[in-house]
């Protein structure tokens, strides 16, 4: 009889929000394994009830300080689809551009400060900075440039205030955008350097057959919208989300677990976007991916750090392309007036697809709201990764095994604060 062995991480470092991990082994057998989210629920869906449809972008932006644009965009998409309005042309370009800023800022934070230290044996980015100051400085500047795009288009970098249903309160001038070009040209080169750097990191030998789900656009790499597709043949309108996906509550997580209706897990985020859209990457990003040896699909979650770096390069290139063709739109926004209707919207948050649904009444007030962030959708996949990773590695010391499992969780760049936005509080009285 082998003694039970427990590895418990009560407080995961370098993730956004409060989560834990628990593993119980009996010999080489995994007896229990949980990715736990104990951050308290945040009730955003309940806050939204009774508010005007036009308030959803600003209220939901508060769910996350790292990816507010994702929340604003998915909310705008939902309200616009509810109102029968499609945002196209220059306004769509602006929406895509501000989102590029968010990808650059969020991915730079994760690649340089949260995930790279794992591969190099540092406990933190601060420790890493003592040995690798040039990389850390590069990461900081990339993040700053992403933030700057968000500030120029959004009024400020965290919880921008210039995004509204139908477009923007004010559109930037051509001069304001072209002022970003030198920084973005530097950022593109820095991102390509980053791809080369992270491609050389030591990666565990680990691959899984994922069900990848992301948005897809007809000819551009998906950011601000599209249809929902998978590598198992799914190809649906965003409005059909709930016909194919569902959320369930598990006792060890304050974030709902999303899964396919057949019970299977799926994977959203950079690896899913890449697997389903890699041929639509911009030229330099595509070439960088090729040189990094990514292939058309990447199934080793640890190598997601390379995919994120490729997406930083893509976002810089895409931002330059959008700025280059920019002319100020005739109006900064389109009028949208949803009434007595349900609206669905999705966009590609840095961590993966973010789905919103709103029921709007005859006065334009929100009756019901439903928000499904990427980390909720990835929880099942994270747990399956951990289950698959442990067998064959039980000979590792507790300390080493814990390190590698935490690293595996961080492959998803989990945003626990986002994931716990939900929950209805039901008070039963007798």
């Amino acid at each position: 009889m082998r003694a039970d062995r427990e590895i418990a991480v009560d407080y995961l470092a370098r993730v956004e929000g409060e989560g834990a991990m628990y593993l119980k082994l009996r010999g080489d057998e995994v007896v229990d394994l949980k990715f736990k989210i104990f951050e308290p629920p945040r009730f955003f869906e309940a806050f939204l009830r009774g508010r005007r449809f036009s308030e959803a972008p600003d209220i939901t932006a508060r769910i996350c300080g790292i990816c507010p644009i994702a929340y604003q965009t998915s909310a705008c998409n939902a309200m616009e689809s509810a109102g029968g309005v499609e945002v196209t042309g220059g306004l769509r370009d602006l929406r895509r551009l501000i989102y590029c800023g968010e990808w650059i800022e969020s991915h730079a934070l994760h690649v340089f400060f949260l995930h790279a230290p794992d591969f190099l044996g540092y406990d933190s980015a601060i420790q890493m900075a003592a040995d690798l100051p040039d990389q850390v400085k590069m990461g900081l500047r990339l993040k700053q440039i992403g933030n700057r795009i968000m500030t120029v288009l959004g009024g400020r970098e965290i919880h921008p205030i210039n995004v509204r249903v139908g477009g923007f309160y004010r559109s930037p001038t051509v001069t304001e955008l072209t002022a970003l070009v030198p920084d973005l040209e530097w950022a593109l080169e820095a991102a390509l350097t980053t791809v080369r750097w992270v491609a050389e990191l030591p990666f565990p030998d680990f691959d899984r057959e994922y069900q990848f789900v992301s948005l897809a656009d007809s000819d551009e790499f998906p950011i601000e919208g599209g249809r929902i597709v998978s590598n198992r043949g799914l190809d649906i309108e965003v409005a059909e989300w709930s016909d194919h996906f569902e959320e369930t509550h598990v006792p060890w997580s304050n974030a709902l677990h999303a899964r396919r209706r057949d019970g299977s897990s799926y994977h959203v985020g950079p690896m899913a976007r890449y697997a389903l859209n890699s041929e639509k990457l911009t030229a330099a990003a595509r070439e960088a991916a090729r040189q990094a040896g990514l292939g058309p699909v990447c199934t080793n979650p640890f190598r997601s750090i390379i995919v994120r770096a490729v997406e930083i390069a893509f976002a810089c290139e895409e931002a330059l392309r959008l700025i280059n063709r920019y002319t100020r739109p005739p109006t900064p926004y389109l009028d949208v007036q949803p009434r007595n209707v349900t609206g669905h919207g999705a966009s590609e948050a840095p961590r993966g697809m973010l789905y919103h649904r709103y029921d709007i009444d005859s006065e334009g007030l929100i009756v019901d709201a439903h928000i499904v962030p990427p980390t909720s959708q990835n929880q099942l996949s994270i747990e399956e990764d951990l289950h698959a990773y442990v067998p064959g590695r039980t000979g590792l010391t507790d300390e080493r095994l814990q390190w590698e499992l935490e690293q595996a969780i961080r492959c998803y760049d989990p945003c626990i604060s986002c994931a716990t936005h939900f929950l209805d509080l039901t008070v039963e009285r007798t």
């Binding site: 470092a13 956004e16 400060f113 933190s124 980015a125 900075a129 003592a130 100051p133 850390v136 993040k143």
Partner: protein, 141 residues
């Protein structure tokens, strides 16, 4: 010489707003409010010769106690200046800046010992008195 006071904390959480309140009230120096202790602090203090960071402290001392640290003396003692809810606090930013050689020439950190963090509440009386005293000290330095 450019002097800058940076107030770190959330004014909507009672005494955690002590730092921003000091930055709001100082008159002899430039004040910067609304910062959380993230790496962006290094951008905020870029170009300043003397920087004073005011943050909430929770070391177990009497509420209202004012702690003072000179960043040139080395890392801040652990567990005094409030850790950020965003996982990177003032102490971490200072150490990052030290590694990257981005510390201002003079950097002082004041920690005001806090007691009440009730969301939506005002500063407690004790902390209010400490804020007044610290503003006076900075303005007359």
């Amino acid at each position: 010489m450019r002097r800058l006071v940076i107030g770190v904390g959330n004014p909507m959480r009672g005494d955690d707003g002590a730092g921003p309140e000091v930055a709001r009230r100082v008159t002899s120096v430039e004040g910067y409010r609304g910062a959380t202790g993230s790496y962006e602090l290094m951008d905020v203090w870029e170009g300043a010769d003397e920087v004073i960071i005011v943050d909430a402290a929770r070391s177990g001392s009497e509420p209202g106690t004012i702690h003072r640290f000179d960043a040139q003396d080395g890392p801040l003692p652990a567990g005094v200046i409030g850790a950020s809810t965003h996982s990177i606090g003032v102490a971490e930013v200072i150490e990052m800046a030290r590694s990257l050689e981005r510390l201002p020439e003079r950097l002082f950190v004041y920690g005001i010992e806090i007691s009440d963090l009730t969301p939506g509440s005002e500063l407690s009386q004790t902390v209010e008195r400490a804020v007044t005293a610290l503003v006076d000290e900075i303005d007359h330095a």
